[in-house]
Assembly symmetry: C2
Homo-oligomer: 195 residues x 2
Protein backbone atom coordinates (compact mmCIF):
# COMPACT_ATOMS: atom_id res chain seq x y z
CA UNK A 1 0.00 0.00 0.00
CA UNK A 2 2.75 2.40 -1.01
CA UNK A 3 1.19 5.59 -2.18
CA UNK A 4 -2.34 5.86 -0.93
CA UNK A 5 -2.93 8.65 -3.39
CA UNK A 6 -2.38 6.75 -6.61
CA UNK A 7 -6.10 6.55 -7.27
CA UNK A 8 -6.45 10.29 -6.76
CA UNK A 9 -3.40 10.93 -8.90
CA UNK A 10 -5.02 8.96 -11.71
CA UNK A 11 -8.28 10.83 -11.35
CA UNK A 12 -6.54 14.20 -11.52
CA UNK A 13 -4.52 13.20 -14.56
CA UNK A 14 -7.64 11.86 -16.23
CA UNK A 15 -9.44 15.08 -15.39
CA UNK A 16 -6.72 17.13 -17.04
CA UNK A 17 -6.62 15.04 -20.20
CA UNK A 18 -10.36 14.48 -20.55
CA UNK A 19 -11.19 18.16 -20.08
CA UNK A 20 -8.55 19.12 -22.63
CA UNK A 21 -9.15 16.43 -25.26
CA UNK A 22 -12.63 15.11 -24.53
CA UNK A 23 -13.59 11.44 -24.30
CA UNK A 24 -12.92 10.74 -27.99
CA UNK A 25 -9.65 12.63 -28.17
CA UNK A 26 -8.20 11.36 -24.89
CA UNK A 27 -5.78 8.42 -24.90
CA UNK A 28 -5.29 6.07 -21.97
CA UNK A 29 -1.54 6.20 -22.55
CA UNK A 30 -1.55 9.99 -22.27
CA UNK A 31 -3.45 9.79 -19.00
CA UNK A 32 -0.97 7.24 -17.69
CA UNK A 33 1.94 9.48 -18.72
CA UNK A 34 0.28 12.49 -17.11
CA UNK A 35 -0.09 10.49 -13.89
CA UNK A 36 3.45 9.11 -14.18
CA UNK A 37 2.36 5.48 -14.00
CA UNK A 38 1.93 2.39 -16.14
CA UNK A 39 -1.08 2.16 -18.40
CA UNK A 40 -2.21 -1.10 -16.80
CA UNK A 41 -2.66 0.70 -13.49
CA UNK A 42 -5.49 2.72 -14.98
CA UNK A 43 -7.39 -0.50 -15.56
CA UNK A 44 -6.40 -1.76 -12.15
CA UNK A 45 -8.16 1.12 -10.41
CA UNK A 46 -10.81 1.90 -13.01
CA UNK A 47 -11.81 -1.06 -15.09
CA UNK A 48 -12.22 0.74 -18.42
CA UNK A 49 -11.81 4.07 -20.17
CA UNK A 50 -15.54 4.52 -19.92
CA UNK A 51 -15.63 4.04 -16.16
CA UNK A 52 -12.66 6.33 -15.69
CA UNK A 53 -14.41 8.92 -17.80
CA UNK A 54 -17.59 8.59 -15.79
CA UNK A 55 -15.69 9.16 -12.57
CA UNK A 56 -14.17 12.31 -14.04
CA UNK A 57 -17.44 13.57 -15.45
CA UNK A 58 -19.26 13.05 -12.18
CA UNK A 59 -16.52 14.86 -10.27
CA UNK A 60 -16.37 17.78 -12.70
CA UNK A 61 -20.12 18.11 -12.85
CA UNK A 62 -20.51 18.09 -9.09
CA UNK A 63 -17.69 20.57 -8.59
CA UNK A 64 -19.10 22.83 -11.25
CA UNK A 65 -22.50 23.23 -9.67
CA UNK A 66 -21.10 23.43 -6.20
CA UNK A 67 -18.79 26.25 -7.26
CA UNK A 68 -21.60 28.38 -8.60
CA UNK A 69 -24.17 27.59 -5.95
CA UNK A 70 -22.50 29.95 -3.50
CA UNK A 71 -24.44 32.30 -1.33
CA UNK A 72 -27.56 32.37 -3.37
CA UNK A 73 -29.92 30.98 -0.74
CA UNK A 74 -29.85 34.21 1.22
CA UNK A 75 -32.73 36.63 1.23
CA UNK A 76 -30.66 39.32 -0.42
CA UNK A 77 -32.13 41.76 -2.94
CA UNK A 78 -31.98 40.66 -6.56
CA UNK A 79 -29.34 43.26 -7.41
CA UNK A 80 -27.01 41.75 -4.85
CA UNK A 81 -27.74 38.27 -6.13
CA UNK A 82 -26.75 39.37 -9.63
CA UNK A 83 -23.46 40.68 -8.32
CA UNK A 84 -22.82 37.47 -6.42
CA UNK A 85 -23.64 35.14 -9.26
CA UNK A 86 -21.40 37.03 -11.68
CA UNK A 87 -18.42 37.03 -9.36
CA UNK A 88 -18.93 33.42 -8.33
CA UNK A 89 -19.24 32.25 -11.89
CA UNK A 90 -16.43 34.28 -13.41
CA UNK A 91 -14.05 33.28 -10.62
CA UNK A 92 -14.85 29.66 -11.35
CA UNK A 93 -14.33 30.24 -15.08
CA UNK A 94 -11.00 31.96 -14.52
CA UNK A 95 -9.87 28.87 -12.61
CA UNK A 96 -11.53 26.31 -14.90
CA UNK A 97 -11.95 27.95 -18.29
CA UNK A 98 -12.56 24.70 -20.20
CA UNK A 99 -15.00 23.03 -17.84
CA UNK A 100 -18.26 24.36 -19.32
CA UNK A 101 -17.18 23.42 -22.82
CA UNK A 102 -16.22 19.97 -21.58
CA UNK A 103 -19.59 19.44 -19.89
CA UNK A 104 -21.57 20.68 -22.89
CA UNK A 105 -19.60 18.49 -25.29
CA UNK A 106 -19.87 15.31 -23.32
CA UNK A 107 -23.54 15.83 -22.53
CA UNK A 108 -24.21 16.28 -26.23
CA UNK A 109 -22.14 13.22 -27.06
CA UNK A 110 -24.10 11.07 -24.65
CA UNK A 111 -27.02 12.78 -22.89
CA UNK A 112 -27.70 9.67 -20.83
CA UNK A 113 -24.54 10.29 -18.83
CA UNK A 114 -26.02 13.43 -17.33
CA UNK A 115 -29.25 11.67 -16.41
CA UNK A 116 -27.31 8.91 -14.71
CA UNK A 117 -25.23 11.39 -12.73
CA UNK A 118 -28.24 13.43 -11.71
CA UNK A 119 -30.00 10.27 -10.57
CA UNK A 120 -27.07 9.01 -8.53
CA UNK A 121 -26.44 12.33 -6.86
CA UNK A 122 -29.28 14.26 -5.43
CA UNK A 123 -29.38 17.51 -7.30
CA UNK A 124 -32.19 20.01 -7.36
CA UNK A 125 -31.94 22.28 -10.39
CA UNK A 126 -34.91 24.38 -9.42
CA UNK A 127 -32.79 26.30 -6.95
CA UNK A 128 -31.47 28.40 -9.80
CA UNK A 129 -34.92 29.27 -10.96
CA UNK A 130 -36.16 30.23 -7.53
CA UNK A 131 -33.38 32.74 -7.17
CA UNK A 132 -34.90 34.87 -9.87
CA UNK A 133 -38.35 33.42 -9.39
CA UNK A 134 -41.62 34.69 -10.73
CA UNK A 135 -41.89 37.14 -7.88
CA UNK A 136 -39.40 39.52 -9.44
CA UNK A 137 -40.55 43.05 -10.13
CA UNK A 138 -39.65 43.16 -13.81
CA UNK A 139 -41.86 40.23 -14.79
CA UNK A 140 -38.95 38.78 -16.70
CA UNK A 141 -39.01 35.05 -17.48
CA UNK A 142 -36.51 33.55 -15.03
CA UNK A 143 -35.48 30.83 -17.48
CA UNK A 144 -34.77 33.31 -20.26
CA UNK A 145 -32.90 35.39 -17.73
CA UNK A 146 -30.72 32.58 -16.37
CA UNK A 147 -29.90 31.19 -19.81
CA UNK A 148 -28.89 34.66 -20.95
CA UNK A 149 -26.61 35.28 -18.00
CA UNK A 150 -24.88 31.92 -18.29
CA UNK A 151 -24.52 32.32 -22.04
CA UNK A 152 -22.95 35.74 -21.67
CA UNK A 153 -20.54 34.46 -19.03
CA UNK A 154 -19.55 31.16 -20.63
CA UNK A 155 -19.23 32.14 -24.27
CA UNK A 156 -16.04 34.24 -24.10
CA UNK A 157 -14.31 31.35 -22.33
CA UNK A 158 -15.64 28.51 -24.48
CA UNK A 159 -14.99 30.38 -27.72
CA UNK A 160 -11.83 32.07 -26.47
CA UNK A 161 -9.60 31.12 -29.40
CA UNK A 162 -12.24 32.20 -31.88
CA UNK A 163 -13.07 35.55 -30.30
CA UNK A 164 -9.47 36.29 -29.41
CA UNK A 165 -8.38 35.87 -33.01
CA UNK A 166 -11.29 37.59 -34.72
CA UNK A 167 -11.85 40.55 -32.43
CA UNK A 168 -8.48 40.94 -30.72
CA UNK A 169 -6.01 39.99 -33.43
CA UNK A 170 -4.71 37.14 -31.25
CA UNK A 171 -3.52 39.56 -28.58
CA UNK A 172 -3.65 37.51 -25.38
CA UNK A 173 -3.08 40.39 -23.02
CA UNK A 174 -5.82 42.43 -24.63
CA UNK A 175 -8.21 39.52 -24.30
CA UNK A 176 -7.30 38.93 -20.68
CA UNK A 177 -8.07 42.55 -19.97
CA UNK A 178 -11.32 42.21 -21.88
CA UNK A 179 -12.34 39.34 -19.61
CA UNK A 180 -11.41 41.36 -16.56
CA UNK A 181 -13.43 44.39 -17.64
CA UNK A 182 -16.27 42.09 -18.59
CA UNK A 183 -17.12 41.38 -14.95
CA UNK A 184 -18.23 44.95 -14.38
CA UNK A 185 -19.93 45.02 -17.76
CA UNK A 186 -21.95 41.91 -16.89
CA UNK A 187 -23.11 43.33 -13.58
CA UNK A 188 -24.38 46.49 -15.23
CA UNK A 189 -25.98 44.53 -18.05
CA UNK A 190 -27.86 42.31 -15.60
CA UNK A 191 -29.14 45.35 -13.75
CA UNK A 192 -30.35 46.83 -17.03
CA UNK A 193 -32.13 43.58 -17.87
CA UNK A 194 -34.20 43.53 -14.69
CA UNK A 195 -35.09 47.20 -14.80
Amino acid sequence: MKDINTETKILEAARTVFISKGMDGARMQEIADEAGINKALLHYYYRSKDQLFRAVFQSVFAGFFQAIKGELDKETPIEQKAETIVMQYTNMLDANPFVPQFLINEINRNPQTLRDVMDSQQFNPSVFLEIFGNNNKSGIDPRQFIVSIIGMMVFPYAARNLVQLIYFNDNIEAYTQFLQERKEFLKQTILKMIQ
Copy 2:
Protein backbone atom coordinates in the same frame (compact mmCIF):
# COMPACT_ATOMS: atom_id res chain seq x y z
CA MET B 1 -17.64 10.24 -65.23
CA LYS B 2 -20.82 8.68 -63.94
CA ASP B 3 -22.23 10.82 -61.19
CA ILE B 4 -20.68 14.22 -61.32
CA ASN B 5 -21.94 14.84 -57.81
CA THR B 6 -20.00 12.16 -55.97
CA GLU B 7 -17.52 14.68 -54.62
CA THR B 8 -20.34 16.87 -53.35
CA LYS B 9 -22.12 13.85 -51.92
CA ILE B 10 -18.99 12.99 -49.96
CA LEU B 11 -18.62 16.54 -48.69
CA GLU B 12 -22.21 16.64 -47.48
CA ALA B 13 -21.91 13.29 -45.75
CA ALA B 14 -18.65 14.39 -44.14
CA ARG B 15 -20.29 17.61 -43.04
CA THR B 16 -23.09 15.71 -41.35
CA VAL B 17 -20.79 13.31 -39.54
CA PHE B 18 -18.07 15.81 -38.60
CA ILE B 19 -20.55 18.32 -37.21
CA SER B 20 -22.24 15.60 -35.19
CA LYS B 21 -19.18 13.70 -33.93
CA GLY B 22 -16.29 16.13 -34.35
CA MET B 23 -12.93 15.31 -35.92
CA ASP B 24 -11.92 12.85 -33.19
CA GLY B 25 -15.26 11.08 -32.97
CA ALA B 26 -15.89 10.83 -36.71
CA ARG B 27 -15.02 7.61 -38.57
CA MET B 28 -14.18 7.46 -42.24
CA GLN B 29 -16.33 4.34 -42.53
CA GLU B 30 -19.33 6.19 -41.11
CA ILE B 31 -18.84 9.00 -43.61
CA ALA B 32 -18.64 6.47 -46.43
CA ASP B 33 -21.83 4.79 -45.23
CA GLU B 34 -23.57 8.15 -44.94
CA ALA B 35 -22.55 8.92 -48.52
CA GLY B 36 -23.50 5.42 -49.69
CA ILE B 37 -20.10 4.68 -51.18
CA ASN B 38 -16.95 2.69 -50.57
CA LYS B 39 -14.48 3.97 -48.01
CA ALA B 40 -11.67 4.05 -50.57
CA LEU B 41 -13.58 6.67 -52.55
CA LEU B 42 -13.13 9.12 -49.72
CA HIS B 43 -9.38 8.86 -50.20
CA TYR B 44 -9.77 9.04 -53.95
CA TYR B 45 -11.40 12.47 -53.79
CA TYR B 46 -9.82 13.74 -50.56
CA ARG B 47 -6.44 12.27 -49.83
CA SER B 48 -6.81 11.95 -46.07
CA LYS B 49 -9.22 12.38 -43.19
CA ASP B 50 -7.44 15.60 -42.33
CA GLN B 51 -7.92 17.09 -45.79
CA LEU B 52 -11.55 16.03 -45.88
CA PHE B 53 -12.04 17.63 -42.50
CA ARG B 54 -10.40 20.85 -43.64
CA ALA B 55 -12.69 21.02 -46.64
CA VAL B 56 -15.69 20.62 -44.34
CA PHE B 57 -14.42 23.10 -41.79
CA GLN B 58 -13.72 25.72 -44.43
CA SER B 59 -17.16 25.25 -45.94
CA VAL B 60 -18.95 25.39 -42.59
CA PHE B 61 -16.98 28.39 -41.43
CA ALA B 62 -17.61 30.33 -44.61
CA GLY B 63 -21.30 29.47 -44.62
CA PHE B 64 -21.62 30.43 -41.00
CA PHE B 65 -20.32 33.95 -41.40
CA GLN B 66 -22.09 34.46 -44.64
CA ALA B 67 -25.39 33.48 -43.05
CA ILE B 68 -25.08 36.05 -40.28
CA LYS B 69 -23.59 38.84 -42.35
CA GLY B 70 -26.98 39.65 -43.81
CA GLU B 71 -28.22 43.18 -44.22
CA LEU B 72 -25.96 44.75 -41.70
CA ASP B 73 -24.11 47.09 -44.02
CA LYS B 74 -27.09 49.35 -44.38
CA GLU B 75 -27.32 52.70 -42.66
CA THR B 76 -30.18 51.57 -40.50
CA PRO B 77 -30.65 52.73 -36.89
CA ILE B 78 -29.05 50.54 -34.25
CA GLU B 79 -32.42 49.29 -33.03
CA GLN B 80 -33.19 47.92 -36.47
CA LYS B 81 -29.76 46.34 -36.67
CA ALA B 82 -30.38 44.55 -33.39
CA GLU B 83 -33.64 43.17 -34.73
CA THR B 84 -31.96 42.05 -37.93
CA ILE B 85 -29.00 40.38 -36.26
CA VAL B 86 -31.22 38.44 -33.88
CA MET B 87 -33.50 37.14 -36.60
CA GLN B 88 -30.62 36.36 -38.94
CA TYR B 89 -28.70 34.51 -36.28
CA THR B 90 -31.58 32.57 -34.75
CA ASN B 91 -32.83 31.51 -38.16
CA MET B 92 -29.39 30.18 -38.90
CA LEU B 93 -29.28 28.40 -35.53
CA ASP B 94 -32.69 26.83 -36.06
CA ALA B 95 -31.41 25.39 -39.35
CA ASN B 96 -27.90 24.53 -38.08
CA PRO B 97 -28.13 24.12 -34.31
CA PHE B 98 -24.80 22.28 -33.94
CA VAL B 99 -22.63 24.46 -36.14
CA PRO B 100 -21.42 26.95 -33.50
CA GLN B 101 -20.49 24.15 -31.12
CA PHE B 102 -18.67 22.39 -33.94
CA LEU B 103 -16.69 25.49 -34.85
CA ILE B 104 -15.79 26.29 -31.25
CA ASN B 105 -14.65 22.73 -30.57
CA GLU B 106 -12.50 22.36 -33.63
CA ILE B 107 -10.94 25.79 -33.23
CA ASN B 108 -10.03 24.90 -29.66
CA ARG B 109 -8.67 21.53 -30.77
CA ASN B 110 -6.42 23.15 -33.35
CA PRO B 111 -6.46 26.97 -33.44
CA GLN B 112 -4.13 26.96 -36.43
CA THR B 113 -6.93 25.67 -38.64
CA LEU B 114 -8.86 28.90 -38.22
CA ARG B 115 -5.81 31.01 -39.03
CA ASP B 116 -5.19 28.99 -42.18
CA VAL B 117 -8.79 29.36 -43.30
CA MET B 118 -8.85 33.08 -42.59
CA ASP B 119 -5.63 33.52 -44.54
CA SER B 120 -6.83 31.54 -47.55
CA GLN B 121 -10.20 33.26 -47.68
CA GLN B 122 -10.38 36.99 -47.45
CA PHE B 123 -12.39 37.72 -44.36
CA ASN B 124 -12.69 41.01 -42.55
CA PRO B 125 -13.91 40.53 -38.99
CA SER B 126 -14.01 44.24 -38.23
CA VAL B 127 -17.32 44.57 -40.04
CA PHE B 128 -19.06 43.22 -36.96
CA LEU B 129 -17.44 45.77 -34.73
CA GLU B 130 -18.24 48.68 -36.99
CA ILE B 131 -21.92 47.82 -36.87
CA PHE B 132 -22.08 48.77 -33.25
CA GLY B 133 -19.03 50.99 -33.49
CA ASN B 134 -17.80 53.53 -31.00
CA ASN B 135 -20.19 56.11 -32.35
CA ASN B 136 -23.15 54.56 -30.56
CA LYS B 137 -25.04 56.75 -28.15
CA SER B 138 -24.81 54.50 -25.11
CA GLY B 139 -21.02 54.45 -24.99
CA ILE B 140 -21.16 50.68 -24.65
CA ASP B 141 -18.03 48.71 -25.59
CA PRO B 142 -18.91 47.15 -28.96
CA ARG B 143 -16.83 44.06 -28.26
CA GLN B 144 -18.52 43.40 -24.94
CA PHE B 145 -21.81 44.00 -26.65
CA ILE B 146 -21.23 41.64 -29.57
CA VAL B 147 -19.82 38.86 -27.39
CA SER B 148 -22.84 39.15 -25.11
CA ILE B 149 -25.36 38.94 -27.92
CA ILE B 150 -23.68 35.96 -29.55
CA GLY B 151 -23.32 34.21 -26.21
CA MET B 152 -27.00 34.70 -25.40
CA MET B 153 -28.02 33.41 -28.80
CA VAL B 154 -25.66 30.46 -29.10
CA PHE B 155 -25.75 29.04 -25.59
CA PRO B 156 -29.29 27.60 -25.57
CA TYR B 157 -28.47 25.72 -28.77
CA ALA B 158 -24.98 24.53 -27.85
CA ALA B 159 -26.04 23.46 -24.36
CA ARG B 160 -29.49 22.32 -25.44
CA ASN B 161 -29.36 18.87 -23.85
CA LEU B 162 -28.10 20.32 -20.59
CA VAL B 163 -30.58 23.16 -20.31
CA GLN B 164 -33.45 21.09 -21.59
CA LEU B 165 -32.94 18.49 -18.90
CA ILE B 166 -32.17 20.79 -15.98
CA TYR B 167 -34.68 23.57 -16.57
CA PHE B 168 -37.36 21.86 -18.67
CA ASN B 169 -37.43 18.33 -17.31
CA ASP B 170 -36.47 16.98 -20.76
CA ASN B 171 -39.66 18.31 -22.31
CA ILE B 172 -38.72 18.88 -25.93
CA GLU B 173 -41.88 20.78 -26.86
CA ALA B 174 -41.48 23.12 -23.93
CA TYR B 175 -37.90 23.81 -24.93
CA THR B 176 -38.81 24.43 -28.55
CA GLN B 177 -41.36 26.97 -27.40
CA PHE B 178 -38.75 28.49 -25.12
CA LEU B 179 -36.44 28.98 -28.11
CA GLN B 180 -39.28 30.51 -30.09
CA GLU B 181 -40.20 32.98 -27.36
CA ARG B 182 -36.54 33.74 -26.87
CA LYS B 183 -36.34 35.68 -30.13
CA GLU B 184 -38.60 38.39 -28.82
CA PHE B 185 -36.89 38.28 -25.46
CA LEU B 186 -33.50 38.81 -27.09
CA LYS B 187 -34.69 41.81 -29.08
CA GLN B 188 -36.02 43.50 -25.99
CA THR B 189 -32.90 42.63 -24.02
CA ILE B 190 -30.65 44.15 -26.65
CA LEU B 191 -32.69 47.33 -26.64
CA LYS B 192 -32.36 47.52 -22.87
CA MET B 193 -28.62 47.06 -23.14
CA ILE B 194 -28.10 50.02 -25.44
CA GLN B 195 -30.41 52.32 -23.55
